[in-house]
Amino acid sequence: MDRAEKFALKVTLVLLGVFTGLLVYAAKGLNIDVPTCITDVEPFTEGRLIQHAEDRYELHLLAKMWYFEPGEIEIPAGSVVDIYLTSADVIHGIKIVGTNVNLMAIPGAVAYARYKFDKPGEYLIVCHEYCGIGHQNMAGKLIVKPTTTAGR
């Protein structure tokens, strides 16, 4: 190996080392993590929204050929939502557009994400994993309503 080659290899290793370091820091230091293995929640058979406190919600989202249950969800701005997702038949996926909530819905397993919806508006929920001929029509909506200052 000549000098130029050694230098290029060093640059490569340093670059990838920095990337890896940042990635581990973001995951473990800043807690921006990906879904993990959940075994203590049984896959559910119906979707629903449960309110635990004024600004705390638990969403059981059920993906089915070819719709979401519930299809439309309304919460006030500033709510923290624990999203649980499972599938009743084949493999689906969700992306809540405008957020980083991105999960796969796998039959027999439950995916989890937590998100705080601060900005009012309509968030489209798309199925982003091919699940059969009606896949393109499989979508839902999460509506974040602005909170009136009087209520606070």
């Binding site: 080659e5 990838l16 993590d33 990906v34 293995c37 999960l103 397993a109």
Partner: protein, 582 residues
Amino acid sequence: MRVPGSIKTVLYIEILLPMLLLVFGVYHGLLQVLYRAGFIKELSFLKIEYYQGLTLHAVINAIVFTTVLIVAFGNLMFLYHLKKPLRPAVQWTGAILMVVGTLMAAWAMFTGKANVLYTFYPPLLAHWSFYLGAALLAVGSLVPFFFDWIPNYISWKRENPDKKVPLAVYGVFINHILWLIMLVPLVIEIFFQLLPLSLGLVSEINPSLARTLFWAFGHPVVYFWLLPAYVMLYTVLPKVVTGEGKLYSDGAARLAFILFLIFSFPVGLHHQYTEPSITDSYKLIHAIFTFGVAVPSFITAFTVASSLEYSIKSKYPEVRDSLFAWWKKIPYASTEGDKWLVSYFMAGLFLFLIGGITGIVNASYNMNNVVHNTSWVPAHFHTTVGGLVTLVFLGMALYFLAQLKGTEVKAKGLAVAAPWLWLVGMVIFNVGYSIAGLMGYPRRTQTGATGSYFDPSSPYYMPDWHFYAVLGAIGGAIATLGFVLYLVSFVSTLLAPAKEDAELYIPSAEPYHDEKMPSLQKLTPWVAFSVILFVVSYIPPLYDVTKRGVFFDSPGYNDKSPIPITKPQSARDERKETAEAK
């Protein structure tokens, strides 16, 4: 050297079959972008449904086109560089298996019995002939490896104990070892999950296990596509760029191949970041290994660039002291001799630069949350497998066709313009789909029909995405035009009269730095290490996904009817009920 007639026929089949299918593959690629931009508003076009076309596009381009051509390239490299005859019986067996497998899968896809896309995630089910056809194609591709390449490799080593195996043979051989290893999880998935389910032998399967097995194959396979392109970049490109160029470093090339052998396997989980069944720390380990596999690509980038620089500077003294002026001397669009090939390599390399960067984003663990399953992902792989791999394969297919016929490449001007049009198209496509992906535009979605994102009367109307989808369609159309130019040149060459005494000549660059590196010459320990690393890195995730049982969780579903085609309740529940009744 002369290629014997019977082997020549096999090689013709192995070049023409993928080319013929690729015409369908590219056509459905064009339809994809038109559907997705809303230009086609129906669910089907000329009796081919959207998802059927998407399956054809992906399976033909990514599996059939690549696998069959890689076998043809491997045969040519072994034949030419080792100067040992190939066995006609072996070659015919391999080719027939591949053709039969392809026809079985093609029948299922063309009749709409296998609209399961490239990933065929169960419990979505296809006709059994689709799965069995895929398995036969894989088996056929291994026949020449086992019965021609391995014996020829061993006997060459025995006859030349002090020499290194030619670099092209070394690379092709390692690539097929990779292929053999990665097929193990796929074969397990096909024979223990998909075939029994589609034949109705079992009533349900574990989809998490199926996904894990699939991705243990599904990411290494991109290196199986990439390595032949790298072999060409190392051996052919430096030679043809000036006619007498050299490879900068032989040792670096071999090291890159060995690193691919090691790092290709413990990476599959980066496709499964967003799913629940696997513990996140294993995902992080695979993420770090995925960065590791970028190292041999960086080495390749450096070696290819230095080979070009060295070769050009030694040919043209006037640019010897320049830092960048030698770039201008690269024959980007020359029709002189074999230099037309350079345009395929260079256009491919430019695309691969984009592919490499976007690939690191995909691999970056939590960053993947932003882009997972959005149109960012197809944008990424259309610059890698749809960029460097496709262009190098197209260039080499045309080159070898002309070689086998003993003629010059016809319509060379079109052949040179083709990769550049392809590049322009793919860059535009990439920009459109990357940006749309960051905005959340999903992949694998038909958007022209009523009620979809681009229908103003739909509650899910997303006007912001439309511009980028149209950009994707423009890019796709330009790339298709590039392919048409290529096809004109390919067909004219095919129709040119063949010479009986055609001589095979494969350009191959001599190394400039030629280090011995004896540890890289013995492959067995590296292969053993690679297999062990593969198994060890997959034990924890496999344990995770089988926690709820190996064969349970979900009954099979046919693509068109959302009704389980087996029992409506899981076998486990039924057993429980019968136990309770007793």
